[in-house]
C-alpha cells in the first residue's frame, strides 16, 4: 500500500512541495517547471547535469541534486517519464552557459520525452548531450537496449563530479558514458508495489517465490524462481552480474546493494556479507561499497546488486565530495 497521499492526481506536486520545503538548504524549485535544482541555481560556466524520470524511485532522481552531484532533476508522475516540455524547462533551468547533459535510465518514454526537450533546447542554441544509463543485465542481451536501474547512481555521480570541477561538455559526456559501459545490475523482488490511491499491487509474487530481473516500475520479472536463503540469493545476484562483466574493465569496482523500497537495511547487510565474500573470491577489488536505497520502486520488496568497475580516472569522480539530500560524502 501507499498510505500517505491526498488526491492521487496531485501526488507528484504534493511530493515536490514537501521535498523542497524539507531540503531548501540544498535544492530549490525550478520556476514554472516540474523539477528541482541546486539551491541558488545553475552555476555560470559549468555544464548543467539534468537527471530525471518518473517519481516513485527516491532517492532517484531528485535526491541526487546538489554540490558535486546533479545540477537538477526533472520529475515526472509516479513511474511516468516527464513530458518533453518539462525536460525542456528543467534543462533550461540548469543551463549555466556551458551546455547541458541529460542523464536517465533507458526507458522508451524517457528517451522520447528527453529527446523532445533536447530538440527545443538545441533550437535555442543550447548544446545538449544525452548519457543514457543501460545497466540492467536482465533487460536484454544487447547492452544498448537495456533498462537503466540502480546503476544510475554511479553515472550521475561521475557526471556531477566532472561538471562541478569544471570539465568541458565533451569531457563530462564521455566520462558519464565510460561509467555506464562498466556498470551492471541485476535485481530480484519479493513483492509487487502499489500505486498511490490503488488497492491492488501491480503484480503479486506467490508465497515461496521471487521474481528475477524486474525493473523499477512495478513490471514483473523476466522469470520466477523459488525463494532462497540470503546466501543463495547472493550467489544468484553475483553470478548474474559477473556473467555479464565487461571484458575490458580493471579489477577494482564499486559495489552496491540497492533496496527497492520495502526491504530492511539489516536484511541487505545480511545479503551483503555473502556478496562481499563471493565478489572477493571472484577477484573483484571491492572499493567503497554501498548498502541502502538508491533507486526504489515505491514499496516493492526486493533488492539489486550493482557492480561498477572503475579505473583511476573514474575512481576520482566516485571519490569527489558531494552534498545532496540523499547522499553526502567528503571523499
Amino acid at each position: 500500500m501507499t498510505y500517505l497521499f491526498n488526491d492521487p492526481i496531485n501526488f507528484r506536486e504534493d511530493m515536490i512541495e514537501g521535498y523542497v520545503a524539507a531540503y531548501s538548504r540544498m535544492v530549490e524549485r525550478i520556476p514554472d517547471a516540474s523539477g528541482v535544482r541546486i539551491a541558488g541555481g545553475a552555476h555560470k560556466g559549468k555544464v548543467g547535469v539534468l537527471v530525471g524520470g518518473g517519481s516513485g524511485h527516491y532517492p532517484a532522481f531528485c535526491g541526487m541534486v546538489g554540490r558535486g552531484f546533479a545540477t537538477g532533476a526533472v520529475i515526472g508522475d509516479v513511474f511516468t517519464s516527464p513530458p518533453g516540455e518539462q525536460c525542456y524547462r528543467c534543462g533550461k533551468g540548469v543551463d549555466g552557459g556551458a551546455g547541458v547533459v541529460f542523464s536517465y535510465g533507458r526507458y522508451s518514454g524517457d528517451v522520447m520525452n528527453f529527446s523532445m526537450g533536447e530538440m527545443r533546447l538545441e533550437m535555442e542554441g543550447i548544446d545538449v548531450r544525452q548519457v543514457i544509463v543501460t545497466d540492467d543485465v536482465a533487460a536484454s542481451p544487447n547492452f544498448d537496449e537495456r533498462r537503466g536501474v540502480a546503476g544510475d547512481f554511479y553515472v550521475f555521480k561521475a557526471l556531477g563530479a566532472s561538471a562541478w570541477r569544471g570539465d568541458s561538455l565533451d569531457t563530462v559526456e564521455a566520462l558519464g558514458n565510460r561509467v555506464n559501459q562498466w556498470t551492471r545490475t541485476f535485481g530480484i523482488a519479493f513483492s509487487g508495489c502499489t500505486l498511490p490511491g490503488k488497492s491492488e499491487p501491480l503484480f503479486t509474487v506467490a508465497p515461496g517465490k521471487m521474481e528475477l530481473g524486474m525493473g523499477i516500475h512495478g513490471e514483473p520479472g523476466i522469470e520466477t524462481g523459488d525463494m532462497a536463503s540470503a546466501s543463495e540469493i547472493a550467489k544468484l545476484l553475483v553470478d548474474k552480474v559477473l556473467s555479464d562483466a565487461p571484458l575490458d574493465a580493471p579489477s577494482r569496482a564499486a559495489v552496491m546493494i540497492n533496496g527497492l523500497g520495502a526491504t530492511k537495511y539489516e536484511e541487505m547487510f545480511v545479503l551483503y556479507g555473502s556478496v562481499h565474500k563471493l565478489l572477493q573470491a571472484a577477484g573483484i577489488d571491492i572499493y567503497k561499497p554501498l548498502v541502502g536505497e538508491f533507486a526504489t520502486s515505491l514499496n516493492m520488496a526486493g533488492c539489486s546488486l550493482t557492480v561498477s568497475w572503475m579505473d583511476a580516472e573514474l575512481q576520482a569522480l566516485y571519490d569527489y565530495p558531494v552534498e545532496s539530500p540523499a547522499f553526502t560524502t567528503w571523499g
Partner: protein
Amino acid sequence: MAEHAEIAAAALDAALAAILEHEDELGKLDSVAGDGDHGAGMARGFRAAVAADRNGSAGQIIANAGMAFANTAGGASGALVGMFIMSAGAALTDPIDAAKVHAALTKGIEAMVRLGKGQVGEKTMLDTLIPFAAAYGEAAQAGLSVRAAWEQALPAAEAGMKSTAQMIPKRGRSSVLREKSLGTQDPGATSIYYVLAAVGRVLAEHCP
C-alpha cells in the same frame, strides 16, 4: 449539422469520457507486462487536451489539444499520442471532407512512427491506428462521408486491437517481458480503439 470546430471539441470531450470509463481496465492490461499506469496517463493527457484553447478551426482545436496532451501526460504514450493528435490536427484544414481526414490521420501516424520508430505487428497503438487509417482511406476514396467512412473503418481498428493479444512486443517497456504479455491485448492499442469509437459516436450524432 454543427460546425466542424464544435464537433472537434465534442470528439475530444468524448475521448476523455471513454478513457475515464475504461481507466482501470487499461491500467490492468498495462500491469501484465508494464507498470499499470497507462489508463492514468491517458486520462491525464485527455484532461489537458479538453482544457486547451478552443478558438479557431477544427484542425487548430485538435492541434492545441495534442500539444497540451504531449506537454502534460508524460511517458511514452504521452509523447506518442500527443504527437499524433497534434500532427493530425495541424494537417486538418477547412473545408473538411473524408479525404482530408484521411490525410490528417496519415500525418499523425507518420509523426508517431518518426518518434517511436515502430511499425505494425509490434504490439503497439499502431496496430489499431494503421489498419484504421487504411480502411478509412479506402472508404474516403469510395466517396463516403466523414462519418460513414469512420463507421466503415472502425471494425478494422477493432480487429487490429484484438490482434495485439497474439503478438509479442518488440518495443516499449513491455518488450522486456515479451512472452509474458502473450494473450493480453496491448493497452495502447486498446485505448486508441476506445478513442476512435468515441469519436465515431460523436460523428454519428452530429454529422448527416
